[in-house]
């Protein structure tokens, strides 16, 4: 069993408030939403479990309200062949899933959605979002497809916010970075 303080990244004897804050931060970071259709989802889930356990041990009341403990499965509404494709995807056999999918003659919204999922699992961001968009256009009311379009934007914790709320993150700073790099090659540091 790991040291719960270490898992949460707080000092021994940290106050309840600090523990809670660290827990919330980590729970946000490893939330399943950040790992939708990501091959590392199981690692994130494991980490989440560790964090939850550590928090349970440290919070005296033991009534920790866990966030994001549920793992997301596919809702699996499809017909026979597509259901088989879904289960292949879920077990990580992407090449087989793709071959099965290609053999299906009718291309309905779900077909495009599953193509998108396969691409997303591979990290093929562009094809994933193209396929998800087609699926949504064909069936605009389906919540699964609509979620997919928004999740195709990737979900690393805080990355976007940090990037876009950072007023100095423009090219001018890059120039100064490059000047620093020039020093790196040339300067006597």
């Amino acid at each position: 069993m790991k040291d719960p303080y270490e898992v949460l990244g707080v000092a021994h004897g940290a106050s309840d408030e600090e523990i809670k804050k660290a827990y919330r931060e980590l729970a946000r970071k490893y939330h399943p939403d950040n790992y939708t259709n990501n091959p590392l989802a199981d690692l994130a889930q494991e980490r989440m479990k560790e964090i939850n356990e550590a928090y349970d041990m440290l919070s005296k009341g033991g009534s920790a309200a866990h966030s994001g403990a549920s793992s997301r499965g596919y809702s699996g509404t499809g017909s026979g062949a597509l259901a088989a494709v879904r289960s292949l995807i879920q077990s990580g056999r992407l090449d087989e899933a793709e071959a099965r999918l290609d053999a299906v003659p009718t291309h309905n919204a779900e077909w495009y959605y599953l193509r998108g999922v396969i691409a997303q699992r591979r990290g093929w961001v562009d094809e994933a979002s193209q396929n998800f968009r087609i699926a949504v256009n064909m069936e605009p009311t389906n919540p699964e497809y609509r979620n997919a379009v928004s999740s195709a934007g990737g979900g690393a914790y805080g990355y976007r916010q940090e990037r876009y709320n950072d007023p100095s993150g423009d090219m001018c700073d890059l120039c100064s970075t490059l000047m620093c790099l020039n020093c790196l090659c040339g300067g006597c540091r």
């Binding site: 990737g154 690393a156 805080g158 090219m171 540091r189």
Partner: protein, 293 residues
């Protein structure tokens, strides 16, 4: 290599910035020790990033060492270690990959230059390949795949980027522990995508002029040899997503002594580079500008 994987020094603590520079110099020295002086020219920032990703253990004290680029002063450089020599091997293998691609794909002068450089680094390459035969074989395989896609004028940026991304993700084979290897592999896969796509975006005007293959030429409908504003926006979002997936893989890596440097590169460095490449203000543009002034 490409040299797009950079930190943002203005957001890096002084000690970390010094360590980053020392790793760069350490890599340069390892290259020289393993492959002779000429290999020093291959040193690059991308592989410095790889060092920080793979290195585990104490943060060693930097040594002072002579720098041939600055003969009159000594620089801090990290002492040689297994990770540095692994990075040096990979620097040679990946540079040769890039040169082979340029020899085949480039304009007449470029491919001639690449051919000469390949002959120049032949011995170094053979030595690196004998140290990592599996990786070398994999690189050869992926390069063939990429060439087949290029010949078919593939319009999928994902598939063409996949070849290089796969190669980079194999570098995670350094880790023995499975979880770490998977996380690092995924991180490097998306860094590889980033490199390939940023490079494609940067080279687009030139490739369009010379008629060389560039996936963006087939993926998007160009106007006057350029991406439309909307397409550029869409491409930037795609690459941004890759950075973001790389970031979520990074968060799953453990026991990294230099997490501050890596997170700086991923959260600040890559987005800044991407946006300046998209705006056309990155390196090559600047150099050209300087020349014309």
């Amino acid at each position: 290599m490409f040299g797009y994987v950079l930190p943002r020094f203005d957001k890096l603590a002084e000690a970390d910035a010094a360590r980053y520079r020392a790793a760069y110099c350490g890599l340069c020295r390892s290259l020289k020790e393993a492959y002779g002086f000429r290999a020093r020219f291959l040193v690059n920032y991308d592989m410095t990033f790889l060092y920080f990703l793979l290195y585990r253990g104490e943060r060693e004290q930097a040594e002072r060492c002579a720098c041939p680029a600055r003969p009159f002063c000594k620089k801090d450089c990290l002492p040689g270690c297994d990770v540095l020599s692994y990075c040096a091997d990979l620097t040679v293998l990946l540079s040769v990959w890039k040169l082979r691609d340029a020899r085949r794909d480039g304009s007449f002068f470029k491919s001639m230059g690449a051919g000469i450089a390949l002959a120049f680094y032949r011995k170094a390459y053979l030595r690196a390949a004998s140290r990592h035969p599996k990786l070398d074989e994999e690189i050869g395989k992926q390069l063939e795949r990429l060439q087949a896609l290029e010949d078919a004028h593939c319009s999928s940026i994902d598939r063409t980027a996949d070849a290089f991304a796969q190669i980079l993700s194999r570098c995670a084979g350094y880790f023995e522990e499975e979880a770490q290897r998977r996380a690092a592999g995924q991180l490097l896969y998306h860094v590889g995508r980033f490199l390939y796509l940023a490079d494609a975006l940067e080279d687009l005007p030139k490739d369009n002029r010379t008629g060389s293959y560039n996936p963006l030429r087939y993926r998007y409908a160009l106007q006057d040899g350029r991406l439309t504003q909307a397409d550029k926006q869409q491409l930037t979002e795609t690459v941004d997503t890759s950075v973001s997936v790389a970031a979520s893989a990074f968060e799953l890596m453990q026991h990294i002594p230099d997490a501050a440097i890596l997170s700086n590169v991923i959260y600040y460095g890559l987005p800044a580079v991407l946006h300046s490449v998209a705006a056309g203000t990155f390196r090559k543009r600047r150099r050209k500008h300087e020349r014309s002034v």
